[in-house]
């Protein structure tokens, strides 16, 4: 019996899953199935990260994309779609634009991928892949400005990144905070206008009911026995 290289097996498995799920995102009509296929594609990419030994990056992919972004996306989909199991139709113009942009991106990515040296001379297949190397402490130290992978370089020009990434990190987090506060402000003004404009006729739609938490707070304070709508 031929020896099985599990690394290759799982690589092909995850790669096929990622490609297949990505194709399903494009081809599915149902928007929730699309979101689900996107979860599968992003999860398969996380699997590829694990296979490459980048455990921290894989966990990050799971946390940020598969967990966080998907929840946001599904929330958005559910709050904007008009009927359950809502199907999306795209016109010919969308298709053409998507194909052009996708082809351009694919060309760039293929050029970058094929330019790598490892592609020209793949390692011998019977050689077992390296074990999972811990990368977390290196990433943490690099954030603080100690690039452990570049310590041996005598040339200071090559020691790029020794200044650390704390400042960009802080700038990005302050950026996000500003965006969050802005979003909150916009949402609250809109709701206040809606509350003064139209009364209870919109309270039967799903988005209104989901705002039970804040929308009915003053009401609840006056009359603690009242039940929130939708229950």
């Amino acid at each position: 019996m031929e020896a099985i290289n599990w690394h290759s097996v799982f690589f092909y498995l995850f790669a096929a899953l990622a490609c297949g799920a990505a194709a399903a995102v494009v081809l599915c009509g149902n928007i929730v199935r699309m979101a689900f296929a996107l979860v599968a594609a992003l999860g398969a990419v996380a699997g590829l990260f694990f296979l490459a030994g980048a455990d921290f990056l894989g966990a990050l992919q799971l946390l940020v994309y598969v967990g966080g972004t998907m929840v946001l996306l599904v929330f958005g989909v559910m709050l904007t779609s008009h009927s359950p199991l809502f199907a999306l139709r795209s016109g010919a113009g969308h298709w053409i634009a998507a194909v052009v942009i996708g082809a351009c991106l694919l060309t760039v990515l293929l050029r970058a991928a094929l330019a790598a040296n490892a592609w020209a001379s793949p390692p011998p297949p019977q050689q077992l892949p390296p074990r999972l190397q811990p990368t977390t402490s290196q990433i943490g130290l690099a954030l603080l400005g100690v690039r452990t992978d570049k310590l041996d370089r005598p040339d200071p020009v090559l020691q790029k990144g020794m200044c650390g990434y704390l400042l960009p990190f802080e700038i990005a987090s302050v950026h996000l905070l500003v965006v969050l506060i802005g979003a909150m402000f916009l949402a609250r003004t809109k709701r206040r206008m809606a509350a003064t404009g139209s009364g209870s006729n919109s309270s039967q739609s799903i988005p209104r009911q989901l705002e039970i938490g804040n929308a009915n707070r003053p009401h609840d304070a006056q009359n603690p026995t009242c039940t929130p709508p939708g229950e």
Partner: protein, 424 residues
């Protein structure tokens, strides 16, 4: 384990050794997860009955109804399998298994004892939180695919609740990580080796407070009462599980119990010493790997029993709370998270940081050395001149013998900051 097995086989059969090792590990973990679910179900029924002044299961399997979960399982398997006409059938079928997979995959990085861990990852804590958060998409899927209002409501509540409570939960988890200086769960537990006092929860008052907040967030994260809004039967029939029946319904339940055990395990490792008991029995008996493989194995087995006991203690507390406290309203749940848990967790984090900065060696050490220490950071580096060397070669990080001693690891971050601040 794979390497041991590989030694037994011919080199050309290495792949078979790895296959067997992987399959055996996965099967063992699955058995653990299923047994945990069964025992927790029995515990839940028994404890709830006692709290309500009933007897609970008494018929199947002896006087205490040990085999009740088995009987329940058989009964549930015989139920009709219903898929509503309005449902998206593929997603409806897939959702319970996804939820269970998310709960089960956290066991992958959860160490049960010193060497009893499926995947000794360096970033285990992070991986645990990442995988645990994957339950949300599965439950949203269940709620949406059911094509029912109640299911959708339950799913949205669940999503809002779990996503909100992840923030204070992660903040609480950061505190032991900061004290231990590592993200590896095994390493964090190993640093708490010794008597009760070496547990991180007794390190300083802020960690104790963080453990309290962690407990609340763990309850909310696993949707246990008083935070079981997503399946509030008085309002939403059964929340996202309304349309499920038979086997798929029970898979959701097993996912819930598996997640409960996992989060209790995380709490036990981060705050309660993991497998290092109140009394260091394995050390007193000399059951370590230095004394031979059998002694080490026995020590690990004792440690695993200790760890599982702590997890079940946590589960018992969760059950106790469920049958004692009334359910909160959704706005109360949200305001508890945003107005109390997050500020408290942040306060604990900041307080713990300051405490650690003022007394890096603990209260006794700092007070004892108060006469001849100028500044904490200077003291820190003075006491260990090799700090600089270690920083210049951090590749010898966790796992290297010089770092594995008890008190050294927590200060690595402090030193790194101090060295950087001096512009080195």
């Amino acid at each position: 384990m794979a390497d041991h097995l590989a030694n037994w086989f011919h080199p050309s059969l290495d792949w078979l050794a790895y296959t067997i090792a992987g399959a055996a590990g996965a099967a063992l973990l699955l058995v653990v997860a299923l047994m945990v679910a069964a025992v927790s179900m029995w515990l839940e029924r028994k404890i709830s009955a006692r709290i309500q002044d009933r007897l609970g299961p008494t018929r199947v399997g002896g006087r205490y109804g040990w085999l009740q979960p088995l009987a329940d399982g058989l009964k549930v398997l015989g139920k009709e399998d219903i898929i509503p006409a309005q449902a998206d059938k593929l997603l409806f079928r897939a959702a319970p298994y996804l939820a269970y997979a998310a709960a089960f995959c956290t066991y992958m990085v959860l160490p049960f004892s010193g060497r009893w861990v499926a995947l000794p990852l360096d970033s285990a804590v992070f991986m645990f939180l990442a995988v645990a958060s994957l339950e949300v998409p599965a439950i949203i899927l269940a709620g949406y695919a059911s094509g029912s209002k109640y299911s959708l409501f339950g799913a949205m509540r669940e999503a809002a609740q779990v996503v909100s409570y992840e923030i204070p939960l992660a903040l609480c988890v950061v505190i032991p990580v900061m004290l231990a200086g590592t993200l590896s769960l095994s390493e964090i537990a190993e640093q708490q080796r010794g008597w009760l006092t070496s547990w991180l929860v007794f390190r300083n008052p802020f960690v104790c407070g963080a453990f309290f907040v962690f407990g609340i967030c763990a309850l909310a994260h696993t949707n246990r009462a008083p935070f079981d809004l997503p399946e509030a039967e008085s309002e939403l029939v059964a929340g996202f599980m309304t349309e499920y029946s038979g086997f798929r319904w029970v898979v959701f339940f097993m996912a819930e119990y598996a997640a409960m055990f996992a989060i209790c395990g995380l709490g036990a490792i981060l705050f309660l010493g993991g497998w290092n008991g109140p009394i260091p029995l394995t050390d007193l008996l000399g059951l370590r790997y230095d004394a031979g493989p059998l002694a080490g194995w026995l020590g690990d087995a004792l440690g695993a029993i200790n760890f599982i006991f702590k997890c079940f203690l946590g589960i018992t507390c969760m059950i106790w709370m469920r049958w004692t406290l009334p359910r909160l309203r959704i706005d109360q749940v949200m305001s508890l998270c945003l107005k109390y848990c997050i500020p408290l967790a942040t306060l604990m984090l900041a307080g713990c940081m300051l405490w650690q900065y003022a007394m890096p060696g603990g209260v006794v050490h700092t007070v004892g050395n108060a006469g001849h220490s100028h500044s904490p950071v200077a003291e820190c580096t003075q006491h260990r001149p090799h700090a600089q060397r270690r920083l210049s070669n951090p590749l010898s990080g966790p796992g290297a013998p010089e770092n594995s001693s008890l008190r050294q690891q927590p200060r690595l971050l402090l030193e790194a900051t101090s060295v950087l601040l001096r512009g080195n």
